[in-house]
């Protein structure tokens, strides 16, 4: 027996870390397809055979829900927004001001990009060139290859050796809610959601770079 999950690229490593535990306790295999949230949403609209959609934001699940109906989207994790750099700086504002190139995910596509964009707008005008990635993983690739020294990243992607890093999740007016939507209701789907939202599992999210979902969310 298996369950088909469509998961946003950024959450895939976390999901891969959680999967063995789920399979061990329930006997259900997870078949994981990952991709950009927008691309997965498009496919689901055209009938892609997934049981559950784990998006990087709350926008796509809402769009899908309005077309497909069913249970309401649920938040399964809260993202952390980090600013990392190879350049030393005392605070994130001065870091942004002295960087010549800043990479972020495309605000139009990714919630991390949108969140980063909001914070940068508050400091406008900045002299840096904004380099926009199609998704948040690409930002990390650019950072890794040395093209970019200052980058907005998700908590799950922060490099362990980055000399300068600021967790700016607290600065955000709205949390980054990663939401899921059940595409094909079934007992197995319910089992998975129960597992993912269980306090045990949520506790494990912290070291993976996500904040657990508040009970009231």
């Amino acid at each position: 027996e298996s369950l088909r999950l469509a998961v946003a690229s950024n959450f895939r490593p976390a999901l891969a870390a959680l999967a063995p535990e789920f399979t061990r306790t329930t006997g259900i295999e997870l078949v994981i397809s990952s991709g950009a949230s927008g691309q997965l949403a498009t496919q689901i609209l055209q009938g892609a055979p997934f049981d559950i959609f784990l998006s990087a934001d709350d926008h796509y699940p809402a769009r899908l829900h309005s077309s497909l109906g069913g249970d309401l989207p649920q938040t399964y994790a809260q993202g952390q927004l980090w600013l990392v750099s190879r350049t030393a700086a005392n605070d994130w504002q001065s870091l942004l001001r002295k960087s010549d190139k800043i990479a972020l995910a495309n605000p139009a596509l990714a919630p991390y990009g949108a969140a980063a964009d909001t914070l940068m707008q508050s400091l406008a005008p900045l002299s840096a060139t904004r380099v926009t990635a199609a998704n948040i993983a690409q930002v990390r690739q650019w950072y890794d290859a040395g093209h970019i020294n200052t980058a907005w990243l998700a908590g799950s992607l922060v490099p362990a050796d980055a000399p300068t890093r600021f967790n700016l999740t607290a600065q955000l007016h709205a949390p980054i809610r990663q939401q899921l939507l059940v595409i094909k209701p079934s007992p197995r789907s319910t089992q998975f959601i129960t597992f993912l939202l269980s306090p045990d599992t949520q506790r494990q999210l912290q070291p993976l770079g996500y904040d657990p979902v508040n009970a009231d969310d």
Binding site: V31, S33, S34, Q39, F50
Partner: protein
């Protein structure tokens, strides 16, 4: 060394490339012949039609194919009615998608090659009593072998590397539509560079062997 998932992706890629290229050649050979032989406006229009998919990014072609395959649209609905299964997110769908996308790469070298074939030899062959098929096998094929090799290489390699269309209409489903190119892309996305390098190397090795087989034979 290589995990089962990676191996499955490579096997799937090879299968997709083999099936698509075979079908493509079957389709492209008569098409290319007609395009170079005919002076009709229809042929000119078809020539353009064949090249058109080229200018759209593959993911966008994939997007339109996804729309076409949708059971809400006429082609997808027809297919569903006929076969009982959907084209999207199936191997068959990938084959069709790869064919649409790779068609110009197979047609163009063939067409260029056919245009340069000495038509006098075909006149001779016809008078000697060779039928269409024999003319193809005994005159066109050996004399245009560079064109065929080019068409095959571009078609096969391109399908192996095909990614945007597959990503869109495949859905990255292991064993069904998760081909090697998607697996490499996934690895890069997951920052698993070691896995990406390894898979890339395997693909390159396969390509070298395949190309050696083609080019080695060709020059002898």
């Amino acid at each position: 060394m290589i995990d089962a998932a990676a191996l499955a992706a490579i096997v799937l890629s090879l299968k997709l490339a083999a099936v698509s290229t075979t079908l493509l050649l079957l389709l492209a050979i008569p098409l290319a012949w007609w395009l170079q032989a005919s002076t009709s406006a229809l042929a000119r229009a078809s020539e353009i039609l064949v090249a058109l998919p080229l200018v759209l990014p593959p993911t966008v072609i994939g997007f339109y194919l996804l729309l076409a395959f949708s059971p809400h649209q006429w082609p997808g609905a027809q297919w569903l009615a006929l076969t009982g299964s959907s084209l999207a997110f199936s191997f068959t769908g990938l084959v069709i998608g790869s064919m649409v996308y790779s068609l110009p790469f197979v047609v163009q070298p063939l067409q260029a090659s056919f245009a340069q074939l000495d038509k006098g030899l075909l006149e001779m062959a016809e008078l000697q009593g060779l039928n269409r098929w024999q003319q193809f096998a005994q005159v066109v094929l050996p004399l245009c072998k560079q064109g065929f090799a080019g068409a095959f290489v571009l078609g096969f390699a391109h399908t192996l590397g095909e990614f945007g269309v597959v990503l869109m209409i495949g859905g990255n489903i292991p064993d069904e539509t998760r081909v090697a190119s998607i697996a490499i892309f996934d690895a890069v996305e997951q920052l698993d560079y070691a896995a990406a390098h390894q898979l890339s190397l395997i693909m390159l090795a396969i390509a070298v062997v395949a190309l050696l087989a083609i080019y080695g034979r060709k020059k002898s």
